[in-house]
């Protein structure tokens, strides 16, 4: 089962529906046993980093997510869910993240409008299965004011917006996606479809 982790933030139905449209069943849950048995977990997120990490802590979900990752099972973090995968965030303070991927989350310090909001194209940094059904320069939908700052090692795809924004990263079986595939029309659906095939 693919579990969309419900930790009290954001609308999870749109992610669940987007997966369903490409034939991937998901379940929205915060039940520890269910997460333990999941073959893949999806970590969504909108809002502030601090609220998100505190909420995961308070619901005692961090150990179970770590265990899942240690077993080599798939995890995909979307938007703020991606940022949570990193060591530290500087969003209105300094907060520790899940630390699965080395690097920090910092504010977009650019001359362009922030948040980076709207449709922007993605460039490929390397081949990866998740890109199987999409093309370089396809447009996806972004809404964010912070971005991850890490080594190029995990970088699968990136987007230029005043700086280089990692838009898809991968470390082993952990994926992070900065944009919203569930709101990115056909292109987003094709990314979720490729992920769905990996976790079968």
């Amino acid at each position: 089962m693919n579990i969309i982790i419900d930790y009290g933030l954001g609308n999870l139905d749109s992610i669940s529906r987007a997966f369903k449209m490409v034939g991937v069943e998901t379940k929205i849950s915060n039940n520890i046993d269910e997460i333990n048995n999941a073959n893949s977990i999806i970590l969504p997120g909108v809002g502030a980093f601090r609220d998100a990490i505190n909420s995961l802590k308070n619901m005692e979900l961090i150990p179970v997510i770590k265990e899942h990752v240690d077993k080599g099972k798939f995890l995909i973090g979307i938007c703020l869910g991606m940022q949570l995968l990193y060591e530290k965030s500087y969003e209105n303070g300094e907060y520790e993240g899940l630390g699965f991927i080395k690097g920090n989350v910092k504010k977009l310090d650019i001359d362009l409008k922030v948040p980076h909001m709207g449709w922007n194209n993605i460039k490929f940094n390397k081949n990866d299965e998740i890109l199987k059904y999409i093309n370089e320069d396809d447009y996806v939908y972004f809404v964010h004011s912070y971005y991850v700052n890490s080594s190029n090692e995990e970088l699968v795809a990136y987007t230029d917006y005043g700086t280089t924004i990692p838009s898809i990263v991968r470390k082993n079986n952990i994926y992070g996606i900065q944009f919203h595939p569930e709101k990115s029309s056909e292109v987003g659906a094709n990314i979720l479809k490729a992920y769905g095939e990996m976790i079968k």
């Binding site: 948040p115 449709w119 919203h180």
Partner: protein
Amino acid sequence: MLTRRIIPCLDVRSGRVVKGKKFENIVDVDSPEILGKYYSDCGADELVFYDITASNEERKTSLEFVSKVAKNINIPFCVGGGVSSIDDFTDILRRGADKVSINSSAVKNPDLIKEASLKFGAQCVVLSMDVKKNEKNSWNVYIKGGREKTDLDAVNWAIKGVELGAGEIVVNSIDEDGMKNGYDIELLKRITSVVNVPVIASGGAGNMKDFYDAVEYANVDGILAASVFHFGEIKIKDLKKYLKDKRIEIRI
């Protein structure tokens, strides 16, 4: 490159999409979820739904259509009309909308912009304003669906709205609404030059060049229209190709 957005606007009254001229002479168009899906499939970048009678009758947005739309589309959409509290924001966002737009209630209670922005993030909070030019060559903000004039100056209100936390400004020209004479370039230009959030032009689109002009001469981030799309006078695919050929960054 970040694209300019093409945004069909769907005015909803009693659960149906309708369209009028200068905010009057309303005719029925279709159901919100069917038209929403149609536009999403045609390549619209985003959708906006307004419950157009909400403020006037002082009732809440009839929210049923929001959930139906969310089930039908996979592009972002914004909902407005009759939103007057944080609870209204919560309701609409829970039903699957990505943004909420406030208009009359923001004029009456500017702190709502601030509260909503702190709670949900600036990207969720869209300040929509209905404006009309006066004799002094400036623009007044109107409330209650364009029925009531206020003393607020449109440009100052846009600046104030952004200071309070609005993440996007939609400028609806009452003079141009449904008239198909082009957007109010002069006003839009003044607003885009003073605020640092996306500005969406609304009211007046008649042909494809009007969309081009709003981007080229007023530097707007998004262009919103209703009747030209609803009645099939402009096809979104044709419009996008036209703009792309004119070297405007657009998602095809």
